[in-house]
């Protein structure tokens, strides 16, 4: 691989032991996939920081890195962890919070922003064409498809190490020639609400797998768009989609296989919705607009019924904006619990809920797999109606 003089210095350890290690990993992985050079990044988003997943080995590695003087060279954010650091929502195993805090403190020492959210674009929106290194599949597909920034689906360690050198290897979706649709998807549906967008996304992911779809569909809002993209990144390993009218990059669809998706291809499990114990919005983490919309529904339907719970999960930056605006307080007055830093998919919920209803296709996909919960798919408005008994 070709390295610039400055990159070589880091590779040879002239800067620090920590950045040398990070650079060596990036170069070797790049060589393994045939990358010819590195690319400078402006933004990194690290996944793989839940103590639940990385355990003592991961915790100790991150602490050692921080103690060896590793520091993020670019703006860097963090994915959600297993619990809300601001209040107790779910009971945690003994010692869990203490070790999770050690992990967070290591990242703090390395100069990461302790955002703990899957929506880093609400903390800092990358510009069109910017090269970034993001973990978290839903953020990756949003960045590539909606923002027009460029990132591969980075794994846990690499997204951390890329932040420490401000580079990643130049391959995959960083390169123009690879940002091309591989299949055309024609969506023949009428109005698409958020829940339907999730189901549609799951279907597209199953069909496309690791390809890049060109999707023609009725116009949807940002919420439905984010839910659809997150879903296809979960059921498939889609890193980028062209959505007609949304994606700014040009696409040549001539000669591509065309798949039609109609009503009959989209099955929705709504029947158990009324019986759900938890109603939940915020996968990916809710935006300020989502929270305003949900408040509107509660203001017309009433408050959460006794014995039911309604969660909104969001990032701490969005929460701050919602608190400032008064939206957060008004939602809580209606019985809504606003939870930051985590979400039902990554929290160790265990058997806390037998049935959950959500507007998220990604959560629909993971909740039953991770916690064995029965899951219903409903739009945000339907969720509020069911939770308030209207």
């Amino acid at each position: 691989m070709y390295l610039t003089k400055d990159e070589e210095k880091v590779y040879d350890g002239e800067e620090s032991a920590a950045s040398q290690k990070a650079m060596q990993v990036i170069v070797k992985l790049g060589e393994a996939v045939g990358a010819e050079r590195l690319v400078s990044i402006t933004n990194a988003h690290a996944s793989g920081l839940s103590y639940n997943n990385i355990g003592d080995p991961g915790m100790e590695f991150l602490e050692d890195l921080a103690n060896q003087g590793a520091r993020a060279k670019v703006y860097a954010t963090l994915n959600p962890i297993g619990y809300d650091t601001t209040k107790e929502v779910i009971p945690l195993p003994e010692g869990f919070a203490e070790k999770q805090l050690r992990i967070i403190n290591a990242f703090r020492k390395m100069g990461f922003n302790i955002t703990l959210s899957c929506t880093p674009y609400y903390s800092k929106m990358p510009a069109y064409g910017e090269h970034i290194a993001w973990g978290e599949s839903s953020a990756v597909i949003y960045a590539n498809s909606v923002v027009g920034a460029r990132t591969n689906r980075e794994g846990g360690p690499l997204s951390v190490l890329a932040a420490l050198v401000g580079k990643t290897y130049y391959s995959g979706l960083h390169i123009d020639e690879n940002r091309k649709p591989s299949v055309e998807i024609d969506v023949e549906l009428g109005k698409i609400d958020d829940a339907m967008a999730g189901t549609l996304g799951l279907k597209i992911g199953e069909l496309v797998k690791d390809g890049i779809p060109f999707i023609s569909m009725p116009k949807v809002g940002d919420t439905a768009l984010r839910i659809m993209l997150a879903a296809m990144a979960a059921s498939g390993s889609v890193g980028m989609a062209f959505v007609k009218g949304v994606t700014k990059e040009r696409a040549d669809t001539s000669g591509l296989e065309k798949i039609k998706i109609g009503e009959k291809d989209i099955s929705m499990e709504k029947s158990i919705g009324q019986a759900s114990e938890l109603y939940f919005v915020g996968c990916p983490h809710a935006s300020i607009e989502d929270m305003r919309d949900i408040l509107k529904y509660f203001e017309s339907y009433g408050s959460v019924s006794k014995g039911k719970r309604f969660w909104i999960t969001t990032g701490s930056d969005v929460y701050k904006a919602a608190a400032q605006e008064g939206v957060a307080e008004r939602l809580m007055k209606h019985g809504v619990e606003i939870i930051v830093d985590t979400c039902p998919v990554v929290a160790p919920l265990g058997s806390m809920f037998k049935s959950i209803a959500t507007n998220s296709g990604k959560s629909f996909f993971y909740l039953s797999r991770v916690h064995g919960t029965s899951v219903a798919s409903m739009s945000a408005e339907e969720l509020v109606r069911a939770a308030t008994g209207k």
């Binding site: 990993v25 997943n53 080995p57 360690p157």
Partner: protein
């Protein structure tokens, strides 16, 4: 190809992925390993109940395994093995995937690949092997 030199030493061509020389006893796992879950990061002992080397320690050995699989946490386990002084001296695989490459660099563990089936079918288990990155070769000392 395997060739026997006059002094009874077998030489195998290797490709160096992570630099480093090593000489030790070979431990051969017939099936791919997930470092996360299959190996105890504190002792280097193989925990996988279905492994042909269950209960064996890979500490200080040359681990020969067709490939690796599983979670990205595997990289951190390789780092932990090194930190706890129970890492293998080197790892030989048929093909190296990102989790393994990352872990070997983090842990400072030499990593090489070889397409020589003979290495992976169990025959070299217990034999002394020597990895020489400068000549891209692995010697089996009979």
């Amino acid at each position: 190809m395997l060739r026997l030199a006059n002094d009874g030493v077998a030489m195998v061509k290797i490709k160096v992925i992570v630099e480093g020389a090593a000489e030790s006893e070979a431990v051969v796992s017939l099936n791919p390993i997930s470092f996360f879950g299959d190996i105890d990061p504190k002792t280097g002992v193989v925990k996988d109940p279905n492994s042909n080397i269950k209960g064996v320690s890979i500490a200080g050995k040359v681990l020969v395994v067709p490939g690796t699989r599983g979670s990205t946490v595997g990289s951190y386990v390789l780092y932990a093995l090194s930190k706890n002084n129970v890492a293998p001296k080197a790892i030989v695989v048929k093909s190296a995937e990102p989790i393994l490459i990352t872990g070997c660099i983090l842990g400072g563990i030499p990593l090489v690949t070889s397409s020589e089936d003979y290495l992976f079918n169990g025959q070299v288990g217990g034999k002394r092997v020597k990895i020489d990155p400068s000549s891209s070769s692995l010697e089996i000392v009979q």
